[in-house]
Amino acid sequence: MSSTAPEEVVAILRSASTPPPDPRLDDVLEAFRSQWRRIARRKCPGLLEDVDDAIQNASLKLLLPRKLATLKDPTRIETWARTLFLNTLLDLAADRQREFSRRATLGGPGDDPEEFLRDRLPSTGPSLEEEVVHRERARFVIEWIKEFEIMQLKSRGLPDKEIADLLGLTPNAVRQQLKRRREDLKRALGKLEEPDG
């Protein structure tokens, strides 16, 4: 791959979605995969067979026109591809509950991400619009966590009153939440049962 110009590598990858693909496509993909394997081996030797899944998922993403469109500077194709793989690997690790100690697993025990970022990121505050979005997100997340807690406690068979006591809510609030959830489920089931849905 090092002998091929970055722009050419991008064109080869793009050819996957406009048959016939460039005959060099397999070689280019293999060059990426081989580098990803080395990254995975180095960054997370404990992931074992998940690495193959991550490589497969990242290979598919690499060829997606939608993903390729996020590559704004073709000269950064290698960095872009490495980042794409790393994100895929981390998503997979999180999805499979590869412990909660992601830093320890992926970064090594001596790597503190905050320390690593010191001096490498600007101290940038949020814009007004972002503050509004943050408040909305925080509100949503708190509601969402409440739903998680109520559903978890309900699935343990606890009565509404006890759930309310545990979570510092009124029994009515618990019932409202459960009712809302039942309605959501009904709507979802209704959609499934629609002939064209």
């Binding site: 080395r38 995975a40 067979e49 193959d52 500077d73 999805d95 949020p126 997340v141 969402w144 559903m151």
Partner: protein
């Protein structure tokens, strides 16, 4: 709630480092195999990290919380952390889905509100830029990284990988070959170095490889990792992989070597050749005993058609790959190590 106040980044760094150190100590004390750990009353109580946030929320609903029900303050901190961490929201959603078989409502909406996917797609643009250029050229990315725990961690990982890539650490190491003379006076290209394979807990894997042998990860059967774990294995080198590829010099051929465990100590070897063969190929295996090399098996090979050698006991071997048409001979030495670590 404190979430609306944007902390001074330096204070935040110091606080999180302190808590991470504390969390690492606590994690080390947690019993093996426990699902999570939780911040106890001795935590510094000012902020929580990923592990602690999830643990607090789980303890709020667990039948038998590991450290008691979280205090209102701990809950607030966990909520604050999750409102800035899409990774933890994803973990919580996954836990709920596994426990109840149902997806939490609004999960997709929350992920959209975080907007991490777009940022992670564009993170590569920040690599190599100074903080001031980041802020000037990609302000939305810089601002997102200012508050998002998940993306900050990812960006740290990206920078680490890119630093290593710049040092050439992910360049492919080429196999080194030396010329040797075979039993009949023929020239043989021998791979410099020796691979070592071993069966451990029902899995055969390479534990040492010479330069140029490109590994795929080892597959571990689920049963192998259940229970108390493998404390007696600590003295052995970690398994590196169960398959490896070896480009055969500049011949255009590649040998893929796969391992599988047969019983507690024997190894099955599968050799698959690929690439542009110019004529018939052959693969043979010899066992080394002192100065003698005894033929184990020899087979004619075809491209993409695996050749299998079964039941290799601990000992030293050489694998010969030959293409007669071009008079090419490649030799790879390897050792099957005893599962106990004793020399074979």
């Amino acid at each position: 709630m404190r979430s609306a106040s944007w902390r001074n980044p330096t204070d935040e760094i110091l606080r999180r480092r302190h808590i991470q150190r504390w969390a690492a100590v606590y994690r080390a004390e947690a019993p093996a195999g426990c699902l999570y750990t939780i911040a106890g009353p001795e935590a510094d109580g000012d902020a929580v990290n990923h592990d602690e946030s999830i643990a607090i929320l789980l303890d709020a609903v667990a039948e038998k919380p590991r450290r008691g029900r979280p205090t209102p303050d701990q809950r607030r901190q966990a909520e604050e952390h999750l409102s800035r961490c899409s990774d933890c929201c994803r973990v919580l959603s996954g836990l709920h889905e596994r426990a109840t078989g149902e997806r939490l409502a609004d999960t997709d909406r929350i992920m959209e509100l975080f907007g991490c996917e777009r940022v992670q797609d564009e993170m590569h643009l920040l690599v190599g830029l100074s903080p001031s250029r980041m802020a000037a050229e990609h302000p939305h990315l810089a601002r997102h990284l200012g508050w998002c725990h998940a993306c900050r961690d990812r960006f740290a990982q990206v920078l680490q990988v890119e630093d290593a890539a710049a040092r050439g650490e992910f360049e492919s190491a080429r196999a080194r070959w030396r010329e040797a003379v075979g039993a009949l006076g023929e020239t043989v290209r021998e791979l410099v170095g020796q691979a070592v394979v071993q069966v451990r807990m029902g899995v055969a894997a390479f534990t040492t490889v010479p330069e140029g042998l490109l590994l795929s990860p080892a597959l571990a059967p689920a049963a192998a990792w259940r229970g108390a774990g493998p404390p007696t294995e600590a003295a052995f080198p970690p398994p590196l992989g169960a398959r490896a590829e070896l480009p055969l010099g500049d011949s255009g051929l590649v040998a893929e070597i796969g391992l599988n465990a047969q019983g507690t100590d024997r190894v099955g070897l599968e050799v698959t050749l690929s690439g542009a063969a110019h004529g018939p190929l052959s693969v043979s295996l010899r066992a080394l005993a002192g100065d003698r090399a005894e033929l184990v098996a020899s087979e004619t090979a075809r491209v993409e058609k695996p050749v299998v050698f079964r039941g290799l006991v601990p000992g030293r071997y050489v694998l010969d790959i030959q293409e007669k048409q071009r008079d090419l001979r490649f030799r790879v030495g390897f050792e099957v190590a005893s599962p106990t670590g004793a020399s074979g």
